[in-house]
Amino acid sequence: MTNSALHMSNVRKVYRMADTEVVALDHAELTVASDEIVALVGPSGSGKTTLCSIAGGILSTTEGSVTVGDEEITAYSDKQLTVFRQNQVGFVFQSVNLVPFLTARENLLVVDELGRREGKPARQRADRLLEELGLTDRSKNLPSQLSGGQKQRVAIGRALMNEPKLVLFDEPTSALDTELGSQVMELIRSEMKSRGTAAIVVTHDERITAYCDRTVHIIDGVLAA
């Protein structure tokens, strides 16, 4: 039993295209403690999304090893990675986060429906999350009927539905104004802390880092504390 939520060791990621190679991540060493919130700050194109994708089992590494909780996922197959994502991590993506033809509540429930299929406990968890996120009276609304801040809160709820060890937030506030951004960050912090869940929050806004336990900088694929 390790007590870190994420351990990345000497991770390198190279995107190969027709005639060029982009080194998106180089010799990345990162450990996130089991209840720690880490801010990942860096300019656009520095490799933040790449790092999150690797930590979340969406992307495989070119070199190095990745361990989430007790699971070493480096050599996982696509199928194993799908099951891993289903059970161990939560995502809030930069762009599309909600299924447009499902209501707020259904966007949470779909995680269970297409995953573990717990049924009633999952429904209770969804309702509790919606309440915590202040969305109870919006639970029957479709994403198109929600404001940006509300959508982001639904996405946070969805990311927590599978009770993950690690949640990856890729620029969760970039589409929100400062005021709303702070509210969402407060919510993220309280949700993480009340559950003792680890998180990486990607941002290029230094103000966001105040809500995190620690800040890691990234420039051109290289991490610096």
Partner: protein, 373 residues
């Protein structure tokens, strides 16, 4: 189930229109199936559903009863063949017949010598003729004055036939058709044209001798003379000029429908899969196995085909009980089952093209939103 049904519930118009389109095509297919069978039955039902197992035409007749005339010499030669068990004459005349309420119809009268050599195999009402001037009618004509106990007058000449029995599917050439004893047929011909000689039989109805198969009898008779053209009952019906052309035309139509339905559903699923690829990518990225996403797609395809089929069937059922321009239609149970299975296979099969797209989803696109642009 969850995802498939929720999506359909949220896009009712879209899915509803597709179901309606499938329903309309299903109706057209089944309707044309009834039309084809009704058409063929009204053309050659009298041949298919008469009792003689083998019919002998002359080659000159080109498999049309009216065109064939059997001279006495050939009739004797056939009768002398040892493979022939029993033999009878069949004569055919087309007359103007007047019904009880004064309406006139071009009517076919088929004369047979014995009921098991050329009369309808089965009656649905009444009895076989037992006295001169009695005839069997077709139930398809019953409503036009050819019902049970109706008296039909052959004009000019005023020869009367009373209908004492009715049979199903025994029309010839899609018009009123009567079966009478051969002598009555001859009397009818004479009444119209008193100066004519006795007509020769048009074809011969034969049954094989003990231990001889129908096809053996056919070969045996055809070997007698180059002028004879013996056919089994089924062959005689199917090889009547026009029958295979009608079948082929309908087959082309069915083939086109068989292609249109999978094209419509396949294209539909391709479009909606493309439109929701962002959502599918997101779901796969958060751990939904692609298998589940594909299942949800197939469930939708099955629901659409099933619902469309039921709608088509609901429209078809009452229409299939009606007549179309004198052609009685019928509910074709076999066609319904055949098309239900075929369309289910084609419809779900066509959605597999979209399934391939779903299987190819790369979850990384969820991080860039690339799939949604």
């Amino acid at each position: 189930m969850f995802l498939a049904l929720k999506e359909m519930a949220r896009a009712k118009t879209r899915f509803g229109l597709l179901i309606a389109a499938v329903g309309m095509l299903v109706f057209l297919i089944l309707f044309q199936q009834s039309l084809q069978n009704g058409l063929l039955t009204s053309f050659v039902g009298a041949i298919r559903n008469q009792s003689a197992p083998v019919l002998v035409y002359t080659v000159d007749g080109q498999r049309v009863i009216q065109g064939s005339v059997i001279p006495a010499g050939l009739e004797q030669q056939v009768g002398a063949n040892t493979d022939v068990g029993r033999i009878g004459r069949i004569g055919l005349g087309t007359f103007t017949a007047e019904t009880g309420d004064g309406e006139r119809f071009d009517t076919t009268v088929l004369g047979y010598q014995t009921p098991d050599l050329g009369a309808p195999t089965e009656l649905i009402a009444g009895r076989f003729p037992s006295a001169p001037g009695e005839a069997i009618g077709s139930d398809a004509d019953a409503s036009q004055g050819f019902g049970l106990d109706a008296v039909v007058t052959i004009q000019p000449g005023g020869y009367e036939l009373v209908i004492v029995g009715l049979a199903r599917d025994v029309q010839l050439n899609a018009g009123p058709t009567l079966f009478a004893n051969y002598d009555d047929y001859v009397d009818a011909v004479r009444s119209v044209n008193p100066d004519a000689l006795d007509p020769l039989p048009n074809i011969l109805a034969v049954a094989p001798a003990e231990g001889v198969a129908d096809t053996e009898l056919v070969d045996s008779i055809n070997a007698i003379s180059q002028d004879l053209d013996a056919l089994t009952r089924t062959e005689a019906a199917d090889q009547t000029p026009g029958v295979s052309q009608v079948r082929q035309s309908f087959q082309v139509i069915f083939l086109l429908y068989g292609l249109v339905i999978p094209c419509v559903t396949g294209l539909f699923f391709l479009i909606i899969t493309f439109q929701k690829s962002g959502a599918l990518t997101l779901l796969h990225a958060i751990g939904a196995p692609v298998r589940r996403l594909v299942t949800s797609l197939l469930i939708q395809a099955v629901i659409i085909i099933a619902a469309g089929f039921l709608i088509g069937l609901a429209v078809y059922a009452p229409v299939s009980q009606r007549r179309l321009g004198g052609i009685p239609l019928r509910f074709e149970t076999n066609a319904v089952i055949f098309w239900a299975i075929l369309l289910m296979i084609l419809g779900t099969g066509s959605s597999l093209i979209s399934a391939k797209r779903v299987l190819a989803i790369d979850p990384i696109e969820a991080t860039t939103g690339g799939a949604n642009q």
